[in-house]
Subunit: 360 residues, 2 copies
Amino acid sequence: MADQPFPPDFSQFTCPAPLRDRPQIVLGHGGGGALSQDLIEHVFLPAFGNPVLDRLGDSSVLDLAPHLAGGGRLAFSTDSYVVRPLVFPGGSIGDLAVHGTVNDLAMSGARPLYLSAGFILEEGLPIADLVGIVARMAAAARAAGVAIVTGDTKVVERGHGDGVYINTAGIGVVPPGIDLGPKQVVPGDAILVSGTLGDHGMAIMSVREGLEFEAAITSDTAPLHGLVAAMLEACPAIRLLRDPTRGGVATSLNEIAALADVGIEIDEAAIPVSPLVASACEILGLDPLQVANEGKLLAVVPAAAAGDVLAAMQAHEHGRAATPLGRVVAHHPGRVALRTTLGGSRVIPLPLGEQLPRIC
Amino acid sequence: MADQPFPPDFSQFTCPAPLRDRPQIVLGHGGGGALSQDLIEHVFLPAFGNPVLDRLGDSSVLDLAPHLAGGGRLAFSTDSYVVRPLVFPGGSIGDLAVHGTVNDLAMSGARPLYLSAGFILEEGLPIADLVGIVARMAAAARAAGVAIVTGDTKVVERGHGDGVYINTAGIGVVPPGIDLGPKQVVPGDAILVSGTLGDHGMAIMSVREGLEFEAAITSDTAPLHGLVAAMLEACPAIRLLRDPTRGGVATSLNEIAALADVGIEIDEAAIPVSPLVASACEILGLDPLQVANEGKLLAVVPAAAAGDVLAAMQAHEHGRAATPLGRVVAHHPGRVALRTTLGGSRVIPLPLGEQLPRIC
């Protein structure tokens, strides 16, 4: 046994199981015992409560067969969220944790049904802050029509986290007959985008950099499965959907070009960017094509159906500003080209990393 | 815009997108761009690769209908893993991340099928360390017969993590006719345990405290779904299963007593603890009933079937040391009592928190 100094060094002393009713998270809240139960009973169940979660088993048991009848398939996805700050104009880590995973499912054409929620809390986090984040997360889940049915909480020592990290995994059902994927993409297809680009990234960035404009830039964080359902109703043969989050549209388009082995051309004049975001990008020297979105999607659709899909998008609250962005081409496979307003052309490379860490 | 000092303070400077081929994790590895793709291509796919994951969609699409035919139900569970140290005698955070979630599914009687994996990496983590953990995780998944089909990586700045945090969520299928839960528990039922208690917690503790014995205490981390399947074959009417992880058997038994509203009695003389673990617990003043296990389960079974279930357990590699531990009683509902070797009786309370933080 290692020699212990005497008297012990209490400066390094942390108490895994201190008094209850503390206003802050302590290590014991992650211990699985009475303190963990306090959190579950007083924080998580009141916010997320539903008949499945209330059973409090080690896992949740769900009757999914009716959803899969007739050829439906299961979609399964996960994301961890480490955004800073935890709350920002237009949303919070709780909203992102729901919308991000809901949107990953929606990009498969799935109707999202259930989420899991894993929290990694930092010792010292005010419980009031956790309650606020959980409330926003629960409201986002309710609004998106998904149930949080299973969860877990761990606590790490002060200085080993950042208040709250959240992981969500989601399951949903892809309706029979829907099969989105890069294999379906062919030259001639149209590329549509559901609205303005860069809002989420610049909302976070302007808070962190202390940028002030006449109005706050707000995150576009939103659940997109309703929009996707409307689009698939207009055209079940949509080729592929992607939500351009980290790395922005530049990353998503490069991924599509690589996975489908096609070229992509977009029109500079068609890139939708709000005036505020355009100003902020200019001040900070950022390209809106590389900035993260949390409530937008890119769609590759058969050219003949582009008008119908666009009309369906524009009729939906999350697609009002939808617009054609470009097209799939047979030349320069694997590459994305920008047709500039001056009539030139330049390659849009795959960004190396996100310009802004901890964006989601 | 906040005033910037000139020259800039480079001590706080972090580069989100530095050169490739760095031997350590940098913030850009979490940015979704080329550096993220490097990690996926060179670390995750070679280890986890399977036809579903290789499609690299935002979510994975799985044909689950055949598994649910005839009345099967879906089990869904999640856990985050923050154990320190990352590698310990008998296992690693990668093994725990597979076994923990596989076991949560198994406790519903489910056959685990698919896992998601969410990594939160700390800037500066040697990529070789990540490769080692991912290799152990992949080996554990292969051995357990589950596929890792979707994932995500985020990177946080140096000092805001602890090398690696992992979240896994899992889905599995509960066979038709199996319905485990506290509602099924009735007085007279037998309580069985699958082997010795406290091995995982004391393995971690002895590393952290620098305890040295004639042999290392090794974690019991193991996947238990094969054991569960053998038990359910012996008796499909098993009432309830729990894996006593954080908070140990004391926590699990108290949860069962509370959820089923029954009393529980266990026999001190029946508590299986290995001599090494018993010594370590004595030195550190810990109660083995409160120490975490990662490869053990508690089963509540009809008394008439206890012998058959016990025999099935003892015939399985993860249940060789299975033994009766106690019984469900009608008196003192909600409470757990220990019958001491001297013939007395004392209450085993729900622990407040884990005695040892970051145990899993």
